[in-house]
Symmetry: C2
Subunit: 588 residues, 2 copies
Amino acid sequence: MKLSNGLPILDWGRRYRGALFAEDAMAALIVTIMLIPQSLAYALLAGLPPEMGLYASILPLIAYTIFGTSKALAVGPVAVVSLMTAAAIGALGLPPALAIAAAIALAFLSGVMLVALGVLRLGFLANFLSHPVISGFITASGVIIAASQVKHILGVEAGGATLIDVLLSLARAAPDVNWATALIGVSVLAFLFWVRGGLQPLLMRLGLKKRAAGLLTKAGPAFAVIATTLAAWFWSLDAQGVALVGSVPNSLPPLTVSTLLEIEPSLWRDLAGPALLISIVGFAESVSVAQTLAAKKRQQIVPDQELIGLGAANVAASVSGGYPVTGGFARSVVNFDAGAATPAAGGFTALGILLVTVFLTPLLFFLPKATLAATIIVAVLSLVDFSVLGKTWRYSKADFAAVAATILLTLTLGVEVGVSAGVLLSVGLYLFKTSRPHIAEVGRIDGTEHYRNIKRYSVLTEPSIVSLRVDESLYFANARYLEEYVLNRVVGDPAIRHVILACPAINEIDYSALESLEAVNSRLEALGVRLHLSEVKGPVMDRLKRSSFLDELTGEIFLSHHQAVTELSGAAAPSAPSAIAREDGAAA
Amino acid sequence: MKLSNGLPILDWGRRYRGALFAEDAMAALIVTIMLIPQSLAYALLAGLPPEMGLYASILPLIAYTIFGTSKALAVGPVAVVSLMTAAAIGALGLPPALAIAAAIALAFLSGVMLVALGVLRLGFLANFLSHPVISGFITASGVIIAASQVKHILGVEAGGATLIDVLLSLARAAPDVNWATALIGVSVLAFLFWVRGGLQPLLMRLGLKKRAAGLLTKAGPAFAVIATTLAAWFWSLDAQGVALVGSVPNSLPPLTVSTLLEIEPSLWRDLAGPALLISIVGFAESVSVAQTLAAKKRQQIVPDQELIGLGAANVAASVSGGYPVTGGFARSVVNFDAGAATPAAGGFTALGILLVTVFLTPLLFFLPKATLAATIIVAVLSLVDFSVLGKTWRYSKADFAAVAATILLTLTLGVEVGVSAGVLLSVGLYLFKTSRPHIAEVGRIDGTEHYRNIKRYSVLTEPSIVSLRVDESLYFANARYLEEYVLNRVVGDPAIRHVILACPAINEIDYSALESLEAVNSRLEALGVRLHLSEVKGPVMDRLKRSSFLDELTGEIFLSHHQAVTELSGAAAPSAPSAIAREDGAAA
């Protein structure tokens, strides 16, 4: 991958042609139609004025077009990041004007952090969000988001950062339900669910190709927006108490550098933690979408450059009145299906949203908030997937614990606690597992040179030889475990003269483990037992040669385990072959 | 190990005989003589009245005798834990009476935590203190402790929790040096260094056996105590400004349950973190001494029971006017060498210290503090070992980084920051290493069935087959790395038809890695490339069978890598043998 000094646009831009333009422009048109209601809706979800969603869909897309590497990723406001923004700002209890400034600051911090991670090549940090934690987090977030939108569907006042808070608040507000709002909300919900499930087959029966039918169904929310806006205007539904989007400024995105400059140091400090979480969660979501789509066309993305692209997009959001953005799943798939050929499609989408922002915002005045809430609910419920609980339960209890804890804590204590606890728990469980490695005592399968676990197979053993296969790299957390295991095995059995550690699965021996092996060696020596190693890997052997362990070792290093057992059990051929083996001991 | 319901004393007590008593009593006498100056000195190091060191050497030893499993461990005040106590209490800035209460509370908290860890079988947590971190921490602590005692040697007022603070404070106080004190301090220092280095060879030349000579040199500090006490009394050195221990209460240890009951909740909260660190560091130090000594006699210790033994000792310290205790290195070695045969030796030592506390404390009035400081300096400098820096540098840069950071941060920011940062850094570096596993592309060594790294060996490969050996278990932190590695390898090379992952070093595949393998499988499928696995271990295979991966896999599972390459390169024998291989695919 040549990336022309971190500016991927110089690569693909040079080869840009008219045919690509047509493809990109068509994709951009479709994504723009999808993005208008989404950007308004997600801004409301984040607790911000709707125009901030539009602003977050202009300059950030252009920044990503310049710095990003995915040809299909559609950047902009997304549900989970909007929810995290709402949680971060809500926790501070700020007045509305300061809340807007805080959202802008959050985008700036998140952008700077992403760029820094990219420049320092720390993109791998996102890998510590395990798949179960991400699934659990997104599922729980989807539930919270859907619940948080019910108030707009019912036309009541409610709130809360956790599921329980939201539900309690809704229960208290239920008597105040506005029936006109509820009629619109429920109708749009029913319509959108039908579009999602039934429209595409219908269109295909009417003769449309599958791809065209699929894209047309994505315009469902746009159709609902137009229909309910007209209805609200025609019947003056605001007089019935239906909450409308109302007047949205009719202008270019504002320059908000001065907003950033006026923010207090204490607010920056309060936002740093949430910004880091938003960055990492947003990046993890975005990069997996980008990779999935790139792989379909044998293309590649460059994760560290993606960090810079997303970081630039967030900095761009922060200087143009937006809030944190990332690559969205559904929107990127639509962009891909609609034929986006280069990142320019994102730039054209930005142009589309810019035209809407400058010229068409008056048309949004009569748009009912219930319509937007319905589009959010339908979108996020498609992300809710509790099946991961069953799958992980069957596959691995540790992974199940990580998913279950993430879901439970996200629902009950909020998104930040949920995702942090999920990461800590999965790292902790991994460390716990590796701290008690699987150690198998092995014996020879009769008639072969294969050695297998004596508990799983009927095998031959020698009373004077203990063969142990350690199925884990040796490092500080399991070094003492091995020490105890070996000594406990040997202490009670005076027939033992040799212990052979079979090391084909040991990929590393760190300094603690080296000291433990030295301790095992000298303690076994005190008991008159020799310690041998077999099948030590090349890189491990290279390192052992740099220590004094091989000089102190009472036994030998054998190329194969069979060779070790044969030499140590038979009295013949005592030292010459093993001296060679020690030289070549680096198996594999 | 039968342990009679967590009371090891019931095991060895039943078989206790006169011969054992003689051995234990002799060991106890020698340890008592060594412990008197040590317990006074370490209490001063902890910033506490000297008698608290004596109190911490009575009831705690009896508690350990009842609950502990090591036959040689000598429990009581030790240097590192005393330093950590000083740091924990010093950080709170309490008046003297409250500082004493805080030390008692610290012992109680630490005791309860240790017992809880033992009951919950969480002793393995101490393994996360890697050897380099412990070495670095003890070395840096030794330097700080030695520096902190220089004020007593010079007879000046100074203080500080970090090396820099201590040195600056000493520099400021240097002009006030008390020459009589300095004379005593330097003389005792010189004497003790000579005892350590030159006395044993001298005694052996005079005809003593090595063991007797060795034990006699341990009485060096006791001799210095007697000589300087007599000198201070005879020449009334207190009139010359020499600081003396002064009047030490002449009584049984006080009952301090009421002190514990009167402690404020906020103080308990402030002490919880330091207590946890003291518990884990003390346990790690103690258990490694106990294991080393037990192994020499083919004995065993039970780490989780050790936690209970040490926990009981600390609770005992807290109800009898003591402060945190653990098993001491030098003292335990002396106990062992002097022939301690059962934990009863600790009980007899307690009796010895009790007699001193009740009858002999008036004799301590004229003991110069400079003498105690000199005994501390000589004791801790033997723990200082910077050679670990060189050893780890040669062996592994990651381990070097952990040692260096621990030493540097302990010296500059204090013991708590140092040890916490060391643990976090070593865990972080381990995770980082495993997140970028070694992946080798392998080929066949001509004339053999062995496959080796194409970068290290001259090997045969097939253009249509890529053989990759992954040298690490697959889990969330490296799953995406593997995904990218495989796809990057395949994307640019249209000749590739098969990818075989050789899995002999893969000890686990977690749920994230499973999903990554599924993603690799379907992305390769889109490129017309089949994915195969070879040499999958039994436990890994068991788990894969519980997922749908094996159904979706485009390729096959092979028992050996050679079989895989042979079948996939030759057109012959396409499916029947591999179907068998899939059944028996569980190699090892």
